[in-house]
Amino acid sequence: MTVKEVVNKVMIKIKQILIVVMVFIFIISGCSNSSLDVSQKSNKSVLNKDWKRITAQASGTKVNFFMWGGDEGINQYIDEWVAPFLKKQYNIDVKRYPMDTKEFINKLMAEKRAGKKSGEMDVLWINGENFKTAKEQNLLMGPITKVLPNFNQYVNADKADTKYDFGFPTDGYEAPWGKVQFVFAYDSNKITQPPKSMDELMDWVKKNPGKFTYPAPPDFTGSAFIRHVLHEKSKNYNAYLNKYDESLMKNDAKQVWAILNEMKPYLWRDGKSYPQSLSQLEQLYVNGEVWMTMGYDEANASNLMKKGEFPASTKTFVLDKGTLSNTHFLAIPYNAPNPAGALVLINFLLSPSAQLEKMDLKYWGENTSLSVDRLSEKNKKTMDAIDRGPATLSQEVLANHRIPEIGAEYVQWLERGWMDNVANR
């Protein structure tokens, strides 16, 4: 026997012992799964029913909506507008559970491991790698979009931003709820001509040392910022939309690191430290330490201006080559206790009235996931009349400068690489 075999054998033995000990501890601490409910039939059957029967079945039930709860406007939209409407129209109670996406996916995974057939989540707000994990781990109920009348009527299912979620095929397992686009924000009192490309940004940063920085990846926004560098410097960005290929990334990454390192000495605090989060960058912007900020939400600057946090001279811009945009979705977990109610809620959230209300700055100010050309004339007029705020770019400018997101593996690879190749240099 080689050393490796011996080691492996020992490891297996240790693992066996660990398992036995763990099982023992679970038993004595009463953690055993006695609540396992095997009698419940699979909830998937609801997907074969017609819509009338689904709404009838949903009437008088409660829907548990698990979603990220970090934005007051979004929470109010659900609690003050969606929930009362659904109660009146369909006699359904909507209960919102604020929870980080990662957390409820982990919870769902634990439920799956424990064989729990009936959980507590009905609707999930999800996208990107969380969706990928959920779908790969069979945590989702199935292809739900085909039964939703509003999806069939108003959503263009063939468009890339519906078919793919961060490069991963959605296959109808999730329904698009909204769209956001990355924009940069700047103080027009301090900057007259905002940069239009990464090269121009580099020039600007060098001429105005200390006045620019970006949140440290793996922060969501900072991570998106470095993907813009990749987008401008990669010879074949479209290759990233296909299957994961590390060598592709490795070739382009050298250039990405080179540019970020060239920028580094001219950043805020000489690039020795970066803001840990977007809110920290926004605070630096509010305090005037930096003159530019950014965000993966085209209406965020207008929102913050309305609240009086950002200076009134704030404007936003996109790069000539475009900025990243992504779609976020709604899905139903495999063990949803009320799948019919969940479908009704999702269908309602995809209705033109709910989508237009969501677009208004009053609550959220977020772009619609519906195809504008499928809307009625009346809805189109309402949409044009919506004031998305003084700093929000026009629909046209945004739509013409949209670039798709890349796969979660690439995103994570870049985030980890940034630490070693930029921050720790």
């Binding site: 781990q137 020795k272 430290s273 979660a408 720790n424």
Partner: protein
């Protein structure tokens, strides 16, 4: 007389064990169970079902076998050690000062204990707000004309050496040390002061040669609690350390929550490495304490 007191004390000690049983059971179930589960996860070769990736059992630890993680572990341990020692020293001096000079000023004690009730996250946030280059103190200094621009304010938050991190910890942990040793100092002072004085010792000598040696095990124990806590705490370095500071709890959180489910064993392995550091330190201290007691010294 002394012997009887000692015996009753020991009886009480065993009776106390019965009362401790619920806590002990809790500890066995959750602490030991949790540690074993962590060990299991850190040695697991795959996560998820169907598996997200395949590795050998040691892969999480192999991933950590590089100079950058060693550096991070060193920095994290160093900061924890420095925090513990500084908090111990300042706490001891504060407690002595309180006991000798101001034991009648209750308001001062309350003021000093106030930070204990504030969560670490909030403490870090307050410190950031006041010490940032565009923070309150910087603005005050600017308006008073002490500095000509906000950028001239010394960098305390997100600085190169972790000054902000240590300041935040000290603000939280010094009151803890004071709370721990103050009653002992008060009692020892009243018991020993006259004896020492009659032997011709000054207050400094009493403190240095009588009180500190008697107090040593409790004082060091308190410092160890601070050390172990600081070693594994996330909030303060996450908010106040510079980006490439390399605090292990922050890195572990990133691995756990940001880089995909298949890297979670690495996050757990990082935390286990911290647990090993604090465990080894604890063992050394217990050994020293036993040696100390063998020499016949004890508090009572």
């Amino acid at each position: 007389m002394l012997r009887i007191a000692k015996n009753t004390f020991q009886m009480k000690k065993y009776k106390g064990l019965l009362g401790l049983l619920p806590a002990l059971l809790f500890m066995v179930c959750f602490f030991i169970g949790g540690t074993l589960q962590s060990l299991y996860i850190s040695f697991s070769s795959q996560t998820g079902n169907p598996p997200l990736s395949h590795h050998d059992s040691f892969w999480a630890y192999k991933e950590l076998a590089n100079s950058s993680f060693a550096h991070s572990l060193g920095v994290t341990t160093g900061i924890a050690l420095l925090t513990a020692l500084l908090a111990g020293m300042i706490g001891l001096f504060s407690a002595l000062f309180l006991a000798v000079r101001t034991y009648r000023w209750k308001w001062l004690h309350i003021l000093l204990q106030l930070p204990m009730g504030i969560p670490h996250l909030f403490a870090a946030y307050i410190l950031m707000q006041v010490f940032m280059q565009s923070g309150w103190y910087s603005r005050i200094a600017f308006h008073l004309g002490i500095i000509d621009s906000l950028e001239n304010f010394p960098i305390i938050i997100h600085d190169d050496w972790g000054v902000g991190v240590i300041l935040a910890y000290l603000w939280k942990e010094v009151p803890f040390i004071v709370l721990l040793i103050y009653p002992f100092i008060l009692k020892l002072l009243s018991d020993q002061k006259e004896t020492s004085a009659s032997l011709g010792a000054s207050l400094t000598q009493t403190v240095l040669w009588v009180i500190v040696p008697i107090l040593l095990p409790i004082w060091v124990g308190g410092m160890w609690v601070v050390f172990a806590f600081t070693l594994g705490a996330y909030e303060i370095p996450a908010l106040l350390a510079r980006t490439s500071f390399g605090s292990v709890p922050v890195m572990a959180w990133q691995e756990y929550s940001q880089f995909g489910l298949d890297r979670q064993p690495i996050a757990i392995a990082m935390n286990l490495m911290l647990a090993v550091v604090s465990f080894i330190t604890g063992i050394i201290l217990i050994y020293l304490q036993l040696k100390w007691y063998k020499q016949g010294r004890r508090v009572w």
